[in-house]
Structures are given as C-alpha cells and as structure tokens.
Symmetry: C2
Subunit: 358 residues, 2 copies
Amino acid sequence: MGSRTTLRSVAEAAGVSTAAVSYAFNRPDRLSTQLRARILAVARELGYAGPDATARSLRTGRANAIGVIFTTELTYAFSDPYVLALLGGLTETLSRSRTSLVLIPFAPVVAGLTDSQVSESLDAVRRAVIDGAVADGLTDDHPAVRALADRSLPLVRSSETATGRGVLIDDRQAGRDIGHHLVELGHREVAMLVSAPLAPGRLVDRADEAALYPYSRNRLAGVRDALPADARLRVVSGGGNTSAAGRTAAHTIIAAADPPTAIAADSDVLAAAVVEVAAGQGLRVGHDLSVTGFDDVPAAAPAGLTTVRQPIHEKGQLMARMLLDPDGTPDRVILPTELVVRASTGPAPGRRGERSAT
Amino acid sequence: MGSRTTLRSVAEAAGVSTAAVSYAFNRPDRLSTQLRARILAVARELGYAGPDATARSLRTGRANAIGVIFTTELTYAFSDPYVLALLGGLTETLSRSRTSLVLIPFAPVVAGLTDSQVSESLDAVRRAVIDGAVADGLTDDHPAVRALADRSLPLVRSSETATGRGVLIDDRQAGRDIGHHLVELGHREVAMLVSAPLAPGRLVDRADEAALYPYSRNRLAGVRDALPADARLRVVSGGGNTSAAGRTAAHTIIAAADPPTAIAADSDVLAAAVVEVAAGQGLRVGHDLSVTGFDDVPAAAPAGLTTVRQPIHEKGQLMARMLLDPDGTPDRVILPTELVVRASTGPAPGRRGERSAT
DNA sequence: CTCCTCCTGTTAATCGATTAACAGGGTGCA
DNA sequence: TGCACCCTGTTAATCGATTAACAGGAGGAG
C-alpha cells in the first residue's frame, strides 16, 4: 500500500521468495509451471509489469543501450544525410539485438564554450545509461570523448587518431583521388570548401587549420599531395555543413577577383549548395566550374555530383557490431572509398580537350 | 583492488564517509572547500569519473532520458521527413534540459507477428531506462504502448483516442479540407492513397479499413464527409510510406480502367511518388491529374505539392515539454492544420473553367 | 555565561532487482 | 537398501549510489 509494487511486494503477496518472482520473469525453467503461473497471476493482479529496468541494469551491469554523441544542434543533425545514413546503419544492427540507441546532446561548439557550459553539457554524457558509445568525427580531446573514456565505456570512433576502437576511411587518400582527378582535368586554381566551426566564406589560413575537423585536415592534406607545384589551393570555410552556409561560402568564392576553376567540397551538402549558386550565376557546372563533393549521399547521383563514395551505412553497422560484440570484431577497420565521377567535373576552362590519357 | 572504483572505494581511500564523496560531486556547498578538493583529488588519482549513471538513476528515480518507440524499420525511419521533423522538435527541446532521447526499436508490423516475436521485441521496451515516452501514430492496443502503460511511464501520444496525454491534429477536418478543395475543382473520381500495412496498390475495402492507421482512417472519413453523393472514392494502400511503395501504388491507380482525376495521398512522400509516376506517363499534374499530399514537408514546396501543413516540429517540441514538465503543460493539445494549395491540383479534366467561385 | 544558529560531516536506511550457493525431496539404478 | 542426481525453491550477498536525520563545534547575540 502506498509504495509502488516491486518484486518484493509480489513475493510477499504470493508467499514466496523474491528469487522465485525473479525467476518467474527471467528463467521459466527454474520454476514449476504451477508456481510460475501463480506468481504471474499475483503480479498481474497487483499491476506489476515486470522487473524495474533501472534496477535490473544496475544489478546485471547491462543497459541494453548504446549512446551516440551529438555535438551539432540536434535539429540540424536530422537533416544531414551523412548523420542519417550513419544512424540508419547503427540502428539496423542494434535493433537486431534489441538494443536501444541513446541520442546524447552536447552543446554545439559553435563558438568557444565557457567551462561551466561544457560541464553542464557533460552532465547528459555522464548520466547516460549505456553500455558503450559512438563518437563520430570527434577528436580525442573533445570533452565528451574524454568524459566517456573516463567512465571507461567501450568507445568506437571514426577519427584517425583513434585510441581504442575505430572505423575509419583513408581521408587523405580520398583527398588525393579528388586532387588527381582535378589535376588531370587541367585544374590549377582550386578551392577547398571545408565544414568548420568558422564563419562561412572565411579564408582559412595555416593558423586556422588547427580548428578544422580532423577529417577535413586529412582530406585537405590529400588534395595538397595531388596538386603540382604550379597549382594554387585556397581553403575556405563552409561553416556548419548546411546548405545555407554552403551558399554563403559559394558566393564568396565565386565572387573573388580570381575565382578558382574547381571547388572541392568537404561534403555533398556543401557541394550541392555550390552547384546551386553557380547555376544561379549562369555558370555551367562541369564546364565553367567543376565541383566535387564527399560521401555520395543519395542526393548526389541525381544531382550529377562527382564525389567520393564512402560506405556510411556499413560504417554504422560495423560500429554497432563492434560495441555489441567486442571479441568478434577487430579493433580498427579502414573502409574503402571510391571516387565517383559524374557530370559536375570537367576539363578546366581554356584547356578543353587537353584532358590527359586516363 | 580488483573491483572497479566506486564511491565507496574513494571514500575509504580518502578516509571519509560515502556521503561526503557523494556531496563532493553533487553538492559542493555541503562540504568545506578543502575537504571537497581532497576528495576530488583522491577520486582523480583512483580514476574515479563520478557517480555511476545507473546507480544514480535507481536511487534518484530519474533517468534523464525519454524514449520514442519505432515500429517501422529504423533504417527507413531516418528517411521519413515526418519522423525527422518530429525527432528534430523532440531533441531540440530535450537538449535544453540535458535530456537524452532513447530510440527504442520494436519489430516492424509488416506481417502479423507471432506472440514470441512480439514478446521478444517488447524486451527493449521493458528494459529501456527512461522517464517517459513518446508513441507517435500508435494505437492504444499496440503491444509497445501497452507495455509502456504497464510500466506506468508518462506517455505522450499523437493518436485521437489518446488515453492520457496527447498532441494531435484534427485529421478528420484536414481530410474535409482536402475533399472540399478537390470537389470545388470539380473532381468526382477520387482515389485516396493511404500508408498501411497492406501490399501497395491493393484496393482497401471496408473490411481492410480496420487495418489502417488511426490517422488514415480519420483523414479518410474527412474526405468522405466532403464528397457529394455522386462522387466515387476508392481507397488504395500505399504500403509503407516509402517512395518505392508509392510508385507501385501509383502505377496501379493510373493504369486502372477508369482512373481517378484526383489522388489524395496520406503523406507528401506518397504524393511525390505519384507525381513522379504520373509525369513519367506523360500526365500533366495539376491538369490531367490532381495530387494532394499531407504534412507539408520541406520537399513539398519545391515540388509544388498541394498539401495540408501540420506543425510537426512544434508537435515534437510540445511532446517533449509535456514529458519534461507535466504540471506546466495541458494534457491534450490540438495543433492547427492548414490546406496549402499549390500547382499539383487543378480543375478536373473536361470541366476546365467550371471552377466555382472561391 | 547561556542559548541559538550555522557549518560540516557522519550514520544508516533505501532504491529494486539478480544469482551463486545451498537444501530437501523424489527418482533411477545397481 | 544405498547413492547419485535432478527438480524446485530459498537464503543472503551484492550492484553503486542518495539523502533525511543527526551531532559536534564555532561564532554571535543577549
């Protein structure tokens, strides 16, 4: 009376031990059919729906859930095709083992956060009842990653510098592929558009490069590798990887006194924004201006976007599997990428026909 | 040694009570600055990252998380714009209170599930460590909803028959709005395309109607209300609310011996698929065939789709707020909808020019 | 000098389960 | 008859914290 019904109250009402009630719900074979039936009947009568989830988690040490950290505004995250594909892969694998996915919010790192904001944000990370977590695109020294590591939770990362487990792609090689493709087409004036926590359109100098996401840095390095000495590469911030930010940045680039002949974007979202702006300015994409993306999201093919395909869905599946079955999976996997050439890239203007063999 | 470090081991190492350690982490003001510093130092030394999340949840009775049930394949869910908008609204509000969102998988009800499949699926629902849950588009007698109710967790629904709390729209009125619009345009041969757990393209008879989602039934009833006696309405299953299923259904409808002049779809996704198929068959949408959708998702405007706008994002925000602050929010809210007329609807063929005033 | 408060820290009950170890009775078999 | 083994069910320790109630000492007011 008064207090909620628990395993114990059911046991008392049925005149058995709490162990018996527990077995009635968890191990039917440990009890005679009649006793189990009686216990279940008493439970139903008392409105007892089964063992409490939290208590069970505490006792068994399993939460049946894994977490994923969101450092961007969650609202935006649900419009990012990369994130969606990753979530799709994760949940597909998780749901097979009846494991939930916990979306953990962390204050977006738009501007610098004060310490107290960070520690407040960390609260959600610390309080999350999970068996492991996925941190995609976060550096080792990100507060959330650190908090997770401190909790000594199994962690899967997508970062190159992964300590512990990771599923990654060779961003630098992918960058080279893009670079070579553009160079082959005769481009010597290239702009790289990276999503970064910097104002969209802003020119990224060497000092700023530290602020870039690790994958951006690597892709950038790859593009640099591929460019010959006589080529010029400028790096421009695309802001938060949204269409709007991409358009802003695209305008800046295109309006420059000496615009590039090719723009290599960090993501298909940004690339699509560039294509849109370019078309709006009367430029023929693939002729007057070449544009490349990254990821090969579903929208890339219809848009005719040259891009690097990475198996995002599989990445999510694999990350989930690594957390569910640590022993049956490797600690580190590098997934293949592939340059997909479509209509958005073509010979550099003024050099048409010069395309070198293969 | 051997065992993980806990609040207790820190207390012992520091030579204080466990209460002191707890206070050091949760209530700085209860301890002298020096003692707190000493405890924190000892904790750091021992690699103690703070109170265990699960134990804390058990003791305080708060999980700092709310759940949302997914009955469709999760992979698909992340491509459904309605779901994404709802999730966006939910997470936006939740992240402000540092609350996580738990995505709980439940076996998709494609075909009939066996009892054991259902009870296996229910496991995730029972084990979810949450303070409340959102069940969108599920009937009262859905096993997952029942399981949640049995756990006596606060529940927010979007269903008309909501027991407890709910955020809903007037689906029937929305249906009437669509019906009136089409009737005004002179349409008398109308097909309603509903997402339902039935084969796409299949004609839905009165018996099948019980299998429709509640919102579909209500929208259907609304359309029926609006149609005059001389009009004919056929109901067709659009399957699982995907483009692919929608295209299949669209083909069936358009290929019929006596095709309708207007197709009212249950969702913008289905409507867009219809438009695509119709265009592919050389039909001019808005002239030869009128098409309406539902939701007014982002893609609807560019596609020129006539549809009913519902404030999905706000719905999500409100649902979250209801769970976070039960006392400060009403039990039941009906959100407004609005018919948005665009180019996909026009006068019925053979009646052009007859459009009645307003 | 006495009484009252405030400040710090401790005691101990409690949240709601799981499960290894044990025990008693029935069966099967030699 | 004796012994081993299987079936059922119980005992009791444990998972890792939170927090109301209490207590001792310091300082202030009267």
